[in-house]
Point group: C2
Chain length 334, copies 2
């Protein structure tokens, strides 16, 4: 068994469905031989660890702990799926507040225990907010924290492949940017179907306008659809894709999907936000560019940004994030 590195990868929320899949995926993908599993739920954590041991990955070094300091100590990489799930009677605001608070604590813990973290992926909901909050309090450079944003684009890819009845990977360069769910900006102009621009099909008999609208709507509802079908949130695809993000930073061989990234570019109309952009993952972490698209697509990206800004400002109102003018004092990189 070959591993790409012996760097310490910490999986936060390792007792959960996503986290436990991540530990297995990290070792199966050979991302690193050294994985530390953290979760406050000791029984489930130990059970997951035992299962991983029973897999018997040769050369692996897997540990588990319920002590966040021990977990994060000298971590090189981390992925956090460790948010609180939405519980009965909880409002959207309750969930936002709870997870933003968890993210703030995670950021502070990173600062305290692994200030040399090379790269972290935050995937607990709402990821653009939890990623932003984690980044701020971590004190890290914005290249070092990203959020998982690929699934909207892979959902677009498979939906188009199914429509055209071709292999999934014959649909290329699918892109959604901005936030997730209803507010995502689905780009048509980047995608190619069998090497032909998707836009050449839209509005023709091969892809009537209303069918394209349906596909976009299907993509926006992709996460909800999984819950309807499986009776639970998706866990295999977020696990797999977030490991590929870490893998790309370790092996430098690229990552084909957008990531959520910190953007502070008032010249482009985006200020202190985390959202899916055209990104690259390399040894230095995540870097971004303004997406290429039609005026209408870029307008949709702006709308998505405005929505994320509202969410961010809500978290400022809650007192979990300081006001924008204070950010640089908390994290000089921002």
């Amino acid at each position: 068994m070959d591993y790409l590195s012996k760097d310490k990868l910490v999986i936060l929320g390792a007792a959960g469905a996503i986290g436990s899949n991540m530990v297995q995926s990290a070792l199966t993908l050979g991302v690193t031989s050294r994985v530390t599993m953290y979760d406050p739920f000791e029984k489930g954590l130990q059970g997951t660890a035992e299962e991983i041991y029973h897999c018997a990955f040769p050369g692996s070094h897997v540990t588990w702990t319920t002590d966040i300091a021990e977990a994060l100590e000298s971590a090189d990489y981390l992925i956090s799926s460790g948010g609180a799930p939405r519980k009965e009677g909880m409002t959207r605001e309750d969930l936002l507040k709870g997870n933003a608070e968890i993210a703030a604590q995670l950021g502070k813990d990173i600062k305290a225990y692994c200030p040399d973290l090379k790269f972290g992926v935050i995937i607990f909901n709402p990821a653009d907010i939890t990623g932003l909050v984690t980044l701020l309090y971590s004190g890290l450079s914005s290249k070092r924290i990203a959020t998982l944003a690929a699934l909207d684009s892979t959902r677009l890819q498979i939906a188009l492949a199914q429509h055209f009845d071709i292999a999934q990977d014959q649909v290329t360069h699918c892109r959604t940017y901005g936030g997730h769910g209803e507010q995502m900006a689905v780009f048509a102009s980047t995608a190619q179907v069998n090497s032909t621009p998707l836009v050449d099909f839209i509005g023709t008999s091969e892809l009537p306008e209303e069918r394209w609208e349906e596909i976009k709507q299907h993509v926006r509802q992709g996460g909800k659809k999984i819950i309807q079908l499986r009776g639970r949130s998706s866990f295999q695809s977020p696990s797999h894709q977030s490991l590929l993000m870490v893998k790309a930073v370790i092996d430098g061989k690229g990552y084909p999907w957008p990531s959520g990234v910190y953007v502070d570019a008032p010249e482009h109309g985006f200020e202190k936000i985390m959202m899916a952009m055209e990104t690259e993952l390399t040894h230095v972490g995540v870097t971004w560019q303004i997406p290429k698209g039609t005026d209408r697509e870029l307008e949709a990206l702006n709308t998505s940004y405005e929505h994320l800004k509202e969410l961010r400002d809500e978290v400022i109102e809650m007192g979990i994030l300081p006001s924008l003018t204070e950010w640089n004092r908390v994290n000089p990189h921002l």
Copy 2:
């Protein structure tokens, strides 16, 4: 993304925890690019398929169906986790009867739809019985059907590694044979700890006799322990290990653990049974040898065999398996 083959691998029970993990593992391990998912539970199956599509494995060709004929048609490999779970109020016998019937139907379906199957792994409980029943009705050579038996041995490996506080893979050649659970035969004489025979430690201060007995007991209870800790049966380790079995048959690079195999060797006292033996997985499938061990260990293997024989005879009593003299008529290979 490189795959070892383009052969058709069918995962039966693909909507379940084990089966859905298998589909992901097959693609992550690169065992084959072509996976067909089968489950009678359509909603969950579609949801799992969607998740796999959202993983976006390049070059993969993944299909799903609730039609067993379509699923098995020209299959090269299959893994079945598709038994019925134990339900409230069900006796052990109910479970045995139900799953043996499912196995008999699976064998008949293999005969009807994929008589050229290269290799199948049966993992639903009790696997030695369901594997045996499947093999009989499939009409296949006994090299082509195996059961998962590794987890007892990997549990022994990690338990010893934890006791000696060394890396898991510094404990080598751990072996349990025969059946599973209380009846397994745990061998001490094969194992090495840091290249020193385990037996050199047993009964010394480094591994007192009573501690060794505890470890064996811990291994026998390994599956139950996972249920206690996680609140569910193990699913990650059976998935991972069964995929490694198929991988070994495809790449011919060997598999380091025992598998369950059909044994009919009256000269050794074993007649028409499926159980964990010293095995090899190669391009031709599974082949076995009589384990090497002390007289006492071989006696334990006999005891384990006797238990499996009782189970087998119970299934004959139920009318699901014919009497032993009829087997050759049902499957000329046996």
